[in-house]
Structures are given as structure tokens and as C-alpha cells.
């Protein structure tokens, strides 16, 4: 099992589009991926559950990954939350 902790730094938090990117990424792996914020938790492969966390910029979240590809999954999720999503903030709409 891998346990990762993040403070969300992308400005939009995990609203629909960023959440959809996260789900897309999570679905690439066999491992079970759970995201926790406070006392709420969500299956990272279900966008409705991810949205329900209400995770916004500045919030702390935990990601718990369990399965045969947990190392790769952890790397991918880390990159998405700390690099890919924040880099989308600066894109001009």
C-alpha cells in the first residue's frame, strides 16, 4: 500500500475538468486508488465521488493506493497533482 499526502496547489481544485483528468489517469492502473479529504473518501476512478470531496485549492488530501501496480500509479498521480494540473492554471482560456 502507498500513502501519499498532498496540498492541492492548482487553482481550480478537483472540479469537473481536473477531476476528469485524475479519473482518466487512475483508470490506467489496476490498483485500487482511494482519495481522502477529512472524513470523506472517494474512489479515484469514479468522477462523481471525486467531485463530492469538494477538494479545492489549499485543501489537504490523502491518496491511498493498493495493488500490483501501486508504485507506477503513485508516480503518475503525484505527477498529475503536482505538475500537470497546476500547469493548466496558466493556460489562457
Amino acid at each position: 500500500m502507498k500513502l501519499l499526502k498532498f496540498r492541492l496547489i492548482n487553482k481550480a481544485g478537483l472540479h469537473a475538468r481536473p477531476a476528469a483528468f485524475l479519473v482518466q489517469e487512475a483508470k490506467k492502473f489496476n490498483s485500487q486508488i482511494i482519495i481522502r479529504k477529512g472524513d470523506k473518501s472517494a474512489n479515484a476512478k469514479n468522477v462523481l465521488q471525486v467531485l463530492s470531496l469538494g477538494a479545492d485549492v489549499g485543501d489537504e488530501i490523502e491518496v491511498i493506493i493498493t495493488g500490483n501496480d501501486e508504485n507506477e500509479a503513485a508516480q503518475a498521480i503525484q505527477k498529475l497533482l503536482t505538475e500537470t494540473l497546476p500547469s493548466m492554471d496558466t493556460e489562457v482560456r
Partner: protein, 594 residues
């Protein structure tokens, strides 16, 4: 021309077109509870609907090359997948039929998102309703009303109670302008109108019911700069169409240049800031080229709850907003409540004349010092991490300033005693009551900045209620009496090194720009939507050419409109296309009401 409704501008620009009123029925509420004894059949039905929807979305994705649209459609694909997965569980566990299962899942997540505590995520409820409505209409083989409009060859102005993101996408080729009663500036529908360049305003609830008979199938104008819905004279419509197309082109240029700084041709730089009323507005500031927040209204923190927010909540919200705008400056205004903006738990007594009553800083100092103290503490603490200013509203005497500063000093002493980390903040006042403007020389030593709240200042100077239609002709922020008081106030403040911001509607009014810049104000704070336009204009003005003439007119005018007219001439000289905008505005400047 007649102004039919005034609302909030969501996407700028002016549009003209034939009105279609769409009184939509809500598919979700129309779905009845139903059970099945053929589970596999229901699962097939729902999977077929999912596949059709996926195909539909994938076709759109192939044909549309706009990134925002693609991102939203991809999110919809994920949402559809999740809804169907959970609905299938409902079918197998509870023998629900397909439509009823979708409805249950949708309602469950509407509640979850409402309780998520994030306004932005709350906005995504639209997307869930959107996707589930599409699934249900595929199952019921129900034609949606928007399908009818896609075949229209005319451009339409759509007026409806709300609109879903997928509908904006489907209507993209016929939609000239959009008016809804519900929605928000960061909804996906609003984001889509921006990427499709469709002017969009949100009008108060029940507007449609009130004006439907007047406007069905008529040609109407939407003013997405000022948030107006206008009925033009019928004979004018063809010449108006030409003019409005030219304004459209100009508006696209405003937006293209929005990140360039607001520096006049002769080198005067003006800070362009945004008025923000919640975290959602804050997300628009940088997008529209704003350089900070010149007016953060705190009222949203106090609404829809049973007790005031504590210091920590205020601090967390300030920090979040600061992050959203990359640590740029935020001027926080103390709670501005009163008889006209009641907050139940503050027990504000009913007053005969709330505009002259216990409002703003009066209320805070007399009855709710604990609120003022919490706000000052939160701003001081937040300023250890970002740039903040704090200002008090409705100031009418010097003593109010001295009292507030005393409270602030005591807090700082307390912080020092307890080694609490805080930063330096600017302290200022709103100048919106004439009394304080008239003795501004006695105030300047106590403050770092003033912010001219021209909406209230105008109504107090002119003694004209701005919500009373019958005296609208008197409520004129560019009346020479208002301008003289502003000019004198700015002069005295600047002589004493006090910074001058303007945060009333005048800051986003193009006709006011040559005047305010001649007065040498430091910053203009406005609705984010107005920012690109204002920056574009400022970059095309040369103040040294007009300043002395404006001051001369202020001292010695023949007609109350002289300064305004000179300003319009200046604008048209600088930007010839403004002639078109002024023709439109000229027609509804002093509106009759329906």
C-alpha cells in the same frame, strides 16, 4: 429603445437577434418512480443509452477544435460512465427501472456536491444534471427543445430559466446572445459562452415571466457590458445589426489585449483591479487581465448562515482568494450590512430610511465590534502571507476612523504581546458619503488610501435613490456636482500622498475614463468583465491633451452635459469604432421604463 431588464454581465459584447423564449420542463422531476422484474433488460437499456451518448459526444469532439469545449465534453464522458455504473447497482440492488435509477443517482450527487463546501464544485451540479438528462432523454426517445433550434438559420437570442453546458455547445452556430435567470460566471455554460464569443447576461428570477408577452419573436439587443436587455425601435434593426457587428469585432480586440498593462500614450499607469463578491468572482480576475482586487466584499461570508464567521474562517477564505489571484493585492472591505442588506442574526432594527441609517462602519462600531475585530485580525494575519489592505464603508465622520484605528492598534499590541505573526496592511476608507469628502483634508493623516464608492456618493449628492426608476434621470455619476466633489477629494488626497482608488460603477464606464484619468486617480476597480475594455481604452488616451480642458469645463460649464460630451468626443477620436457604441448607448441613456 426601452430597457426591459437589468442583470449581471457574464460575458461582454453586444448582440442583436430574434428572441426565442424557452420555458423548459425539467426532465428529472418528470421521472416517476418505477420498478422492474427484468433487471437485464433495464441494464441493456441503460448501456445502450450510454453508448449513444458516448457516440454523440465523440462526434462533437471530432468536429470541434476548441480546447475548453473538449475538456468539458471529456468530463461529461467520465460523468456519464460514473452515473451509469452507479445506476446499474441501483437496478440490481433495488429492482429500479433505468430512468428511476438514473434519477436516484443524480439526486444523491446533487446533495453531495451541494454539501461539498466548494462553490466551484457546486457549479458542476449543472454538468451532472446535464448528463443525466441526456441519458434519460435518450432512453425515452424524447426530443429536446434545443434540437429544434439547431435547424434555425436565423441567429437567435435565447432567453431561458437556465441552460446546460451541452446545450450551449449544440446551439453554438445559432446562438447570438444568451439570457438566463439562474447560473454563475464560473459555470461551464458561462465558460463556453466566452470561448464562443456569445454575450451573456443573468437577469433576476421572474423577469422572463414579466416580459415574455412583450418580446416573443421580437428583435432584441443584449448589452453584455452593462448587463442590459433592450428592445430597439423596429425600424432601426437593420442599421443596428451593422453597428453591432462592428462592436463585436472591437470587443474581440479588447479581450485579445487584456493582459497588456493600462498605460496611457503619455505614460500614465493606472492599476486595474476587480470588484469581487465571492471566491468564484476571484477566479475571473486574472483571466480578464485584472491586477488585483480593489474591493473584496465580505457580505458573502455572512449570508445563508446562523452566526457570523469566526476569525479562522475569514482568514482561510482570504488565503484561498489570495492563492487564486497569485498573491496580488486584495483590498478587503469590512462587512457592509444595514437595513437595506439585512443579515438576520445581526438583529438589525427596521428603519424608515436604511440608506441614512445604521449601516456599514456605523453598525460595526455601535453594535458589532466583535465582527470588526475578527475581520481586522484575519486580514492582519493573512497579510503575513500576501498583500492586503483593509477599508471601512459608509464613513461620515473623522471619529469613526479614529475609533477603528484604535481598535486596530489594540489588536496589534495584543499580537505583539503574544508573538502572533502578522504583516503590514494598508488602511483606508470608502468615500461614499459627501460629509467625509468635504473634510478629506482632516482625514488624510489617518489613512493610506481612499476608495471612491461613486454609486452611493452619487445618490447622496443628488438625493436620488438609484433604485427608484422615476429619479433615474437625476442619478448621474457624471453630473458636474459629483465630478467636482470627486476632483477636490482626489486633489487633496494626492497632495498628502494618499492613494486614490475608484471602485464604483463609474470605474467601468468608458465615458468616465478620460475624466478620472485627468483627475490622476491611481487605481480603478470594477466588475472583472469590464477590465479588458477599460485597459484597451486607457492605452489609447493621451491625458496631457485633454486634462486642462476637462478641468476648465468642470469649473465653467454651460450645460451639465458639457464634460460628458467632451469625453465622448475624446473617446471617438481615440477609437473611431466607439462612435458605434455611443450610437447604441445614446439611444438608451435616459430610458423610459416599460
Amino acid at each position: 429603445m426601452i430597457i426591459l431588464a437589468k442583470g449581471i454581465p457574464i460575458n461582454s459584447g453586444i448582440a442583436i437577434g430574434t428572441v426565442k423564449i424557452w420555458e423548459r420542463d425539467d426532465i428529472l422531476t418528470s421521472i416517476q418512480e418505477c420498478k422492474t422484474n427484468n433487471i437485464n433488460n433495464e441494464i441493456n437499456i441503460i448501456n445502450n443509452a450510454l453508448n449513444s451518448l458516448k457516440n454523440k459526444i465523440n462526434i462533437l469532439l471530432r468536429n470541434l477544435n476548441i480546447k475548453e469545449i473538449a475538456d468539458i465534453l471529456n468530463a461529461h464522458l467520465q460523468i456519464a460512465q460514473s452515473i451509469v455504473e452507479e445506476a446499474i447497482n441501483e437496478i440490481t440492488d433495488n429492482n429500479d427501472c433505468a430512468t428511476s435509477a438514473i434519477k436516484h443517482v443524480t439526486i444523491k450527487y446533487i446533495h453531495e456536491l451541494q454539501e461539498s463546501g466548494s462553490e466551484l464544485i457546486g457549479m458542476r451540479i449543472d454538468d451532472i444534471i446535464d448528463v443525466s438528462s441526456q441519458l434519460i432523454s435518450l432512453i425515452l426517445n424524447k426530443q429536446l427543445l434545443y434540437d429544434l433550434y439547431i435547424t434555425e438559420d436565423k441567429k437567435i437570442i435565447l432567453i431561458t430559466n437556465y441552460i446546460m453546458p451541452s446545450e450551449v455547445i449544440l446551439l453554438r452556430n445559432v446562438l447570438e446572445g444568451l439570457v438566463t435567470e439562474h447560473g454563475g460566471a464560473t459555470s461551464h455554460s458561462a465558460i463556453l459562452t466566452r470561448s464562443l464569443n456569445v454575450p451573456y447576461i443573468i437577469v433576476p428570477v421572474n423577469t422572463i415571466k414579466a416580459i415574455a408577452k412583450l418580446i416573443t419573436d421580437k428583435i432584441l439587443i443584449i448589452d453584455g457590458f452593462k448587463g442590459l436587455l433592450i428592445l430597439p425601435e423596429e425600424k432601426d434593426s437593420s442599421s443596428l445589426t451593422r453597428i453591432i457587428n462592428s462592436i463585436d469585432t472591437l470587443n474581440a480586440q479588447f479581450y485579445d489585449e487584456r493582459t497588456n498593462p493600462a498605460v496611457t500614450i503619455d505614460g500614465k499607469h493606472v492599476n486595474i483591479l476587480a470588484n469581487v463578491g465571492n471566491i468564484e468572482d476571484a477566479r475571473l480576475v486574472l483571466e480578464y487581465g485584472g491586477e488585483g482586487i480593489g474591493l473584496l466584499r465580505l457580505e458573502f461570508m455572512y449570508m445563508n448562515r446562523k452566526s457570523p464567521p469566526n476569525e479562522e474562517e475569514l482568514f482561510n477564505t482570504l488565503m484561498r482568494i489570495s492563492k487564486v489571484i497569485n498573491g496580488n493585492e486584495i483590498i478587503v472591505r469590512a462587512l457592509d450590512a444595514g437595513g437595506d442588506k439585512p443579515i438576520p442574526y445581526l438583529n438589525i432594527t427596521k428603519e424608515n430610511n436604511p440608506f441614512l441609517g445604521l449601516r456599514g462602519i456605523r453598525l460595526l462600531l455601535r453594535e458589532h465590534q466583535e465582527i470588526l475585530i475578527n475581520e481586522i485580525k484575519a486580514v492582519l494575519k493573512a497579510s503575513a502571507f500576501g498583500k492586503f489592505g483593509f477599508m471601512i464603508p459608509m464613513v461620515s465622520s473623522v471619529n469613526e476612523i479614529i475609533e477603528t484605528k484604535k481598535i486596530m492598534r489594540e489588536i496589534i499590541e495584543e499580537f505583539d504581546r503574544n508573538n502572533i505573526k502578522y504583516g503590514k496592511i494598508l488602511f483606508g476608507i470608502m468615500v461614499e458619503v459627501p460629509s467625509i469628502a468635504l473634510i478629506i483634508d482632516k482625514v488624510v493623516n489617518h489613512i493610506d488610501f481612499i476608495s471612491l464608492g461613486t454609486n452611493d456618493l452619487t445618490q447622496y449628492i443628488m438625493a436620488a435613490d438609484r433604485s427608484n426608476e422615476k429619479v433615474q434621470y437625476l442619478y448621474d455619476e457624471l453630473n458636474p456636482s459629483v465630478l467636482r466633489l470627486i476632483y477636490n477629494t482626489v486633489n487633496v488626497a494626492k497632495q498628502h500622498g494618499v492613494r486614490v482608488d475608484v471602485c464604483g460603477e463609474i470605474a467601468g464606464n468608458e465615458i468616465a475614463l478620460p475624466i478620472l484619468l485627468s483627475f490622476n486617480v491611481d487605481a480603478l476597480s470594477m466588475n472583472p468583465v469590464s477590465i479588458p475594455k477599460v485597459k484597451y481604452i486607457i492605452r489609447r488616451l493621451r491625458i496631457s491633451d485633454i486634462k486642462s480642458h476637462i478641468i476648465k469645463l468642470l469649473e465653467n460649464f454651460n450645460d451639465e452635459n458639457d464634460i460628458k460630451n467632451f469625453s465622448i468626443t475624446t473617446l471617438i477620436k481615440a477609437i473611431p469604432q466607439f462612435n458605434d457604441l455611443m450610437i447604441i448607448y445614446g439611444n438608451y441613456e435616459h430610458p423610459q421604463q416599460p
